[in-house]
């Protein structure tokens, strides 16, 4: 018998898509039965109360969670988000219901053994409810009490070799696409770069020293499956600077209908026979390719590596061999001054362990600048807008290249610097007046 009636939530149990309500109910039931004899460290009926408070929100159409207080683990300024219910008498099980962020592994590969360890810990010391995963990438433990925070951290670190993730004005847990682990498009090992930078910047991840949050995301190719270009202060997008590798025979196999275009992604509808001109060469944004007399030609110098042709004919076309990544800076969601997309700051850089060039020439100078001059709660992209792209170039110590812009400026209001102008700005008015009377 459920502790709280949930007539509104019950309506979310029908339909084909997995019902989170059904899942919450099975969890509530499991805790009530407690067949494994777990010595629950937070109330046994916590999930019942979670369903209860959610039902109340469905009735009121308002949340019943309050701001977090300052809770955390000793020595860290992130990884735990305080959360309290605003109806603690009605729902005592979730009166104190803090979130913990657990830094996920690169590529989000797991073993059952490891996930079970997490489940055992979370059943014992928390609500048994998670997010797999939070928006930034962490494993999210939803709901525990303050005294359990240190205990959970102790068990994670001592028994599972596992640390918390980032929150607050920290480096947030970096995240990546699957990369070379299982993708032929990946231009660098995203899993390795993500892991290495996460390890190298543990201090920045755990101890808030930044003006605001900072995100790294790693996409292996310009398809951008982890949305780095839209979602991260520094986006590392795999690319190449030589030629697309062509298997001419395989191209003709596509033309002949032997291979399904786009890896079979369009199989749900009859789009007619594959037409390489209509579907590939005419859609090429730079028109740098043509198919003539049974042969595909690509003028690689004019290619912008958008991935379309490779996506359509993955068995015939492959990314180049001289690979690395482009780095874009400053993406963020709309709060406050509107959304920003990442802007290209490094057209190409090799991605090679131990990544010193990326760290020393890109990440750290940018952090120094942002920490020195960023205002409280100002994202990197906002600082870039406030101080200008030229400032970013100075910070990186690189020359401007046309790749950095969509188009040159259409106003001539150039902020010339004194040392750029012959003779400087110190002038003598009397000398001027000798030739120009008042």
């Amino acid at each position: 018998m459920a502790k709280h009636e949930t007539p509104l939530l019950d309506q979310l149990e029908s339909g084909p898509w997995p019902s989170f309500v059904s899942d919450l109910k099975q969890e509530a039931e499991k805790r009530a039965k407690n067949e494994k004899g777990v010595e629950f460290q937070i109330p046994v009926d916590v999930v019942d109360d979670l369903l209860g408070v959610l039902e109340l929100s469905f009735k009121h159409k308002r949340t019943h969670w309050k701001h977090g207080g300052i809770v955390g683990v000793f020595g860290y300024g992130g990884g735990v988000i305080g959360r309290y219910c605003d109806q603690p008498e009605m729902f005592p099980g979730v009166a104190h219901f803090h979130t913990m962020r657990i830094n996920h592994p690169s590529g989000k590969f797991y073993t059952a053994e490891y996930l079970r360890q997490l489940c055992d810990l979370w059943d014992f010391r928390g609500s048994g409810i998670t997010n797999m995963h939070g928006s930034t990438g962490d494993i999210i433990f939803i709901g525990t009490t303050t005294p359990q925070l240190e205990e959970i951290f102790y068990e994670l670190s001592h028994n599972m070799n596992q640390d918390l993730g980032g929150s607050g004005s920290n480096l947030r847990s970096p995240s990546d696409c699957i990369g070379t682990a299982r993708c032929e498009y990946a231009c660098y090992d995203t899993n390795a770069l993500c892991y290495t930078l996460t390890q190298d910047y543990q201090d920045e991840l755990h101890r808030p020293a930044f003006p605001y949050k900072f995100k790294f995301k790693f996409d292996g190719c310009p398809n951008c499956c982890v949305a780095s270009i839209a979602r991260s202060d520094l986006a590392f997008v795999g690319t190449w600077r030589d030629e697309i590798r062509i298997d001419a025979e395989a191209v003709n196999a596509y033309v002949g209908g032997e291979f399904p275009p786009n890896g079979g992604a369009h199989a749900g509808r009859d789009w007619g026979p594959f037409d390489i001109q209509k579907e590939v060469t005419d859609l090429c944004p730079t028109k740098c390719m043509k198919y003539e007399k049974g042969k595909l030609y690509i003028n690689d110098r004019e290619c912008t590596r958008c991935m379309h042709c490779i996506n359509v004919m993955p068995r015939a076309l492959r990314i180049g061999n001289d690979r690395g990544c482009s780095i874009l800076a400053g993406a963020k969601a709309p709060i406050l001054d509107g959304a920003q997309m990442g802007s290209l700051i490094v057209p190409f850089i090799k991605v090679e362990d131990p990544y010193d060039e990326i760290k020393d020439n890109v990440i750290e100078p940018i952090w120094d600048w942002w920490m020195e001059e960023g205002k409280n709660r100002e994202r990197l992209g906002e600082l870039m807008k406030r101080q200008g792209f030229q400032r970013m170039i100075e910070v990186l110590g690189v020359d401007a290249v046309p790749q950095m812009v969509q188009e040159p400026r259409s106003n001539p209001y150039i902020f010339w610097k004194e040392d750029e102008v012959e003779g400087g700005w110190e002038r003598d008015i009397d000398e001027f007046r000798k030739h120009h009377k008042r």
Partner: protein, 381 residues
Amino acid sequence: MAFISSGYDPSEPMKDRMSDIGPRKYDEFYPPIIAKNKGKWLYHEILEPGVLVHVSETGDEVFTVRVGGCRLMSTTHIREICEISEKYCDGYLRFTTRNNIEFMVDSKDKADALKKDLESRKFDAGSYKFPVGGTGAGVTNIIHTQGWIHCHTPATDASGPVKATMDDLFKDFQDMRLPAQLRVSLACCLNMCGAVHCSDIAILGYHRKPPLLDHEYLDKMCEIPLAIAACPTAAIKPAKVDFKGTEVKSVAVKNERCMFCGNCYTMCPSMPLADTEGDGIVLMAGGKVSNRISAPKFSKVVVAFIKNETPRWPTMTKVINQMVEAYAKDANKYERLGDWAERIGWERFFDKCELDFTHHLIDDFRDPAYFTWRQTTNFKF
């Protein structure tokens, strides 16, 4: 329930302290076939919705069965995922960035058996536990935020509208009939933890009433200068207010300047915005993050407001359906929703999707607004 210590000693927090160890290393969790073929993959193919094969230059093939997951997930459910991975995949699995779960096996026969098993598992009330799909030119899983289950600033729920939307789009999760992939995302407030602003269809929670002012507590609970500084439109100023005969320090809000972003509430709990009638959903469309063919782009607001119709948001799902069907019918192969809208013109988009255009949809927020007005005589009647 007696308190059981992990070994942590609160009187000596630094004793045996382990910190800054980071996440587990990825390669501990690679299935052997992935470890062996990393960096050697030649190509992939979607064999049927939700089933992929990746072929390596070593000749190895890995078959992946992708299933939709709720991002909100119990340990009971995770344990079931573990059990499946042990039965079929030697205990390995992975999650995708869009809350899907991937099980990998080394033969098509194993993939078929796995798929059959996954599809047979249902919750008691009837929904699938592990629906297979989410590949190719269809609708993949929705990425989303917390909503009313755990967040203090939402203007709508997350898991509820997601469930309602995915029920409605379910056939397209398991099919690949669309012109290109269609990505739906949800963020329950403007903070956009889910960064939905570059999705084919974005569902966004939004407030429409300025903050309430809890004068009695405001100065006690908040740093007033921080609340003032938090406002992007400078609508908040300090004020001395008479509270039951006593003058208290508080703030005043110029309501007509408020853009309902909730940033003040983030800094000051005494300025809540949540409201039954005020809160609801904005629908945005036409964004993308891929660089394929055209540059990544932001989603545009196409419906200014839809009420929070709990528990299943029928108006919202109806409008989403209209957009998906119009796109499916009219767009060219490989054309993303935003590219289609740009090709036919946004005026046509509103026709074809049978959506009303209202003044709310014309940008009036700072400089970028101007660039969205039409500065040509080229338009369609």
